[in-house]
Each structure stands twice: as structure tokens, then as C-alpha cells.
């Protein structure tokens, strides 16, 4: 009896694993990842702005989080051919027209995010420098590869 249930469940389980691995909905996946990075930036920007006091441990945690997220951006998986339109995507066609340029921009962001986390800033001035270096990637990429729709 138990075995029969296991047999019946196996294909379902396999399907679940498969769809999680393949990213059934790359548009939703990439939007969730972008939102998550927004959260990390949201905990850092008020410190850079001077609205919240500098806290080395909190800053490092957020920079690590941002770096983890950055490394998860896999252009081939999150922006595959066929995901140009649909959902509420604001991806620009330029991602696919100039895919090499897009991949290069993503790689630059990954490198800057890693460097910012590795710098382990210990004071406000060095944090601001590291944050500026990594955060200018947001605008640089959105300048070319995103289209505002609302």
C-alpha cells in the first residue's frame, strides 16, 4: 500500500522538482529576484542617505544578501528566448537584440556586488563608496534594458 502511494507520488514529485529547476515562469522569477534586491538596497540606502546610523554588521549582512541575489541572475535562465513579452514584464527587447551587451552588464554588476561585500566597510565613508559603486549598476542596466510601462 505504502509502495503504491510512493509510486503514484513519484511522477508528481519529479514534475515539481523539474519545474522548480527549470523556472516554470522566468518572468515571475526574475521579477521576484529584482524585488528582493530592492529590499536589500532599501536597508542600505537610508544609511547612505544619513537617515539611519551606520552599523557595520547590518551593512555587511545587506551587502552579502545583495551579492547573493546578484549571483543568482542567470541571463539564460531568467531571460530566455520566448520570455520577451507576457505577464507584466518591463524587459526591453534590447536584452535579446544585444544579448552580449546585456550579459556583460550583468557580469559587471556581479563583480561590483562581490567587491562591495568583500570590502566589509567599517565606516560610513567607505560604505558610501562601496554602495555607490554597486548601486550605479541598477540605473546603468535599467537605462538600456528596461522599458517603463506604467
Amino acid at each position: 500500500m505504502k509502495r503504491r502511494i510512493a509510486f503514484a507520488a513519484a511522477p508528481l514529485l519529479a514534475l515539481a522538482v523539474f519545474s522548480a529547476a527549470a523556472g516554470a515562469d522566468p518572468i515571475a522569477d526574475r521579477q521576484a529576484l529584482m524585488k528582493d534586491q530592492g529590499k536589500a538596497v532599501g536597508s542600505l540606502a537610508p544609511i547612505a542617505k544619513g537617515e539611519k546610523p551606520f552599523d557595520a554588521a547590518a551593512v555587511l549582512a545587506a551587502l552579502n544578501k545583495l551579492n547573493d541575489d546578484a549571483q543568482k541572475i542567470d541571463p539564460a535562465k531568467l531571460f530566455p528566448v520566448g520570455s520577451e513579452t507576457g505577464g507584466e514584464t518591463t524587459a526591453s527587447p534590447k536584452i535579446w537584440e544585444d544579448n552580449a551587451g546585456f550579459v556583460a552588464a550583468v557580469n559587471k554588476y556581479k563583480a561590483d556586488a562581490t567587491a562591495a561585500a568583500a570590502a566589509k566597510p567599517q565606516d560610513l565613508a567607505s560604505f558610501k563608496l562601496a554602495f555607490a559603486q554597486v548601486s550605479q549598476n541598477c540605473g546603468a542596466c535599467h537605462q538600456t534594458y528596461r522599458i517603463k510601462k506604467n
Partner: protein, 307 residues
């Protein structure tokens, strides 16, 4: 009889042609007004340069850092009217090295070239027309200090009838005015300064305000957002109306102009990325003034259709 009719047609054609010629004549700025300017101060001119966003269109495409100070032109604006190619405005013979202060003032305030032709309003003189003459004089002094380039930008590629520059004379009669766009009661000094920056040099309305079929701004929906002038997508509503930025505080606006981050930590994109690079060079008080103005203007719902 036929002779008389023919004569009448000829007379009407000549009168019409003369009328068109008269109505479309490029008008320069009153020299007496320009004579009021003191010699330009290049240091003050630098902040006029960043407020005016000159580098966004006149630096070579993709330029960053100090390269944005080489105003070689060649940036293409792909619009429904055709493709406009920005000219070289660096201080060289291929740029505007031989221009006088009066030439620059006529270009920016009246949209008229030194040889007396209309400029296309892709060059936002419809906003620059609201600038103070002294700011133009200071800008003139600053532009002289920038590195020269010998680049020769390509010609515009436009479709008929937009190829007839003279016709712009009629368009200017409708849409070129040095008057402020809004009248804001009890405006503080900050709001007044913000109004000058937004409506004048900052030329924010050129992209953030919807246009009619012949490219005139719909000032009844000032800054309500619009379809992007180039390509796809929209330019956001920056009034307090539905879809706009009512939930943003003045601090939020100021910080967005400085850092490019919105209050929910999305980042500004598209051509606004470049605007942020320019705005970051302004005095903090000027960014605060822009925020004060944006919070004081009438609210409108989005000026573009739902996607």
C-alpha cells in the same frame, strides 16, 4: 474671364506665399535684452550646464565620466517625425567654436541658428526660452572651457513635410513662449527656483508632458506623464494625480534625483538615468527646489493610455 481667374489665382498664390513667408520668418531675440547680460562666469555656467542636461544629448552616445564633457554630438533621437541627430556643440570649427554669445542666446531662446534658420524643437528651446539671459551668458563661458571635437554629425533623417524647416515658424507661433507654464499662488522662494529649473533649463516637460498630433505640449496636463518620445514605453506621471508620485515626500524626490532610487528602491531607468547623472551635479538646494515645485503643481491622472 479665364484670364481674370488666372490672375486672381496668381495674386492669391503670391499673397499666400508672402503670408507664409512673413508668418514663418525666424525671429531673433531683442538685442537690447541680450545686452543686459554681464560677461559670463564659467563656474556658474557649469551648474547651468548640468541643469540644462546638455551632455545627455550632445555627448557621444555611451560616453561616461569626463567623456560626457566632449560635446561631439551624433546621438540619435528616433521619433515619429523621423530621426534627429544631435550636432557637435564643442568649441571647435566643426562645433560652435565661432559662435558669439548672441548666437547661443538666439539658438536657446528663439530656436534660430546663426545663419537664420529654425531649429527643430527636438532641441528643447521651447523650455530654454524661459531661461534668464545671464544663465545663457554663464553657460556660454563654460562651454568655451570644454574640450573641442572635430566630429561631424550626420544629417537628420526626417519624413515630409517635416523636412521643410520654414514651416516650423508656424509651429513656433503656437508653441514657443517665454512665459512660465504655471501660475502658483503664494510660491515660496524654493518653489520659484524649482519652477525655473523644471520649466526652463531642466526641460522636464518635454518628456513628462503629453503632446498633441503635431508635437505641441498639452499644458493642461503638465507633467502628467506621456508616451515615450522615442521607442516604446512611457515616461511617468510626476504630478500628485493617480499613477503619479503623490506618495513621495519632498525628501524622496530629492534623493531620487541624486541617487536614482525611488522610495521603494526600484531604480530610475531609461533616459532618466542620464538626467540623474546631471542632477547629481547640482547644489542640494536646487534638487530640493525641484522637489518643492513638484509637490506644489496641480495633480493630473496619467497622461498616457493604459497598457
Amino acid at each position: 474671364m479665364i484670364r481674370k481667374l488666372l490672375l486672381l489665382i496668381i495674386v492669391v498664390a503670391i499673397a499666400g506665399g508672402a503670408g507664409f513667408w512673413f508668418l514663418t520668418a525666424p525671429a531673433r531675440v531683442d538685442p537690447a535684452k541680450l545686452a543686459t547680460a554681464a560677461p559670463g562666469d564659467a563656474k556658474r555656467g557649469e551648474s547651468v550646464f548640468w541643469a540644462g542636461g546638455c551632455a545627455s544629448c550632445h555627448a557621444a552616445p555611451g560616453a561616461s565620466g569626463d567623456a560626457r564633457l566632449v560635446l561631439a554630438g551624433g546621438h540619435e533621437l528616433v521619433t515619429p517625425f523621423g530621426t534627429f541627430v544631435t550636432p557637435n556643440i564643442s568649441p571647435s570649427d566643426k562645433g560652435i567654436g565661432k559662435w558669439s554669445f548672441e548666437d547661443l542666446a538666439n539658438a536657446m531662446l528663439s530656436g534660430v541658428s546663426p545663419d537664420g534658420r529654425h531649429y527643430y524643437p527636438a532641441f528643447p528651446y521651447t523650455s530654454y526660452a524661459r531661461m534668464q539671459v545671464q544663465d545663457i551668458a554663464d553657460l556660454y563661458a563654460y562651454l568655451k572651457t570644454l574640450p573641442p571635437s572635430d566630429n561631424v554629425a550626420a544629417d537628420h533623417r526626417l519624413s515630409f513635410p517635416f523636412t521643410i524647416r520654414r514651416g516650423l515658424g508656424l509651429w513656433k507661433r503656437l508653441y514657443l513662449s517665454s512665459d512660465p507654464v504655471l501660475t502658483i499662488a503664494d510660491a515660496t522662494d524654493a518653489i520659484k527656483r524649482g519652477q525655473y529649473l523644471v520649466e526652463g533649463p531642466g526641460h522636464c516637460g518635454e518628456c513628462h508632458t503629453p503632446r498633441n498630433a503635431i508635437g505641441g505640449l498639452d499644458k493642461t496636463r503638465w507633467l502628467a506623464g506621456a508616451k515615450a518620445p522615442e521607442g516604446k514605453g512611457v515616461v511617468p506621471n510626476i504630478t500628485g494625480g493617480e499613477g503619479g508620485i503623490d506618495s513621495w515626500s519632498e525628501k524622496d524626490i530629492t534623493y531620487a534625483l541624486e541617487s536614482g532610487f525611488t522610495p521603494d528602491f526600484d531604480s530610475l531607468g531609461g533616459s532618466m538615468t542620464d538626467v540623474v547623472l546631471n542632477m547629481a551635479h547640482l547644489e542640494p538646494a536646487d534638487r530640493e527646489a525641484i522637489a518643492a515645485y513638484l509637490k506644489a503643481i496641480p495633480a493630473h491622472p496619467n497622461g498616457f493610455p493604459k497598457p
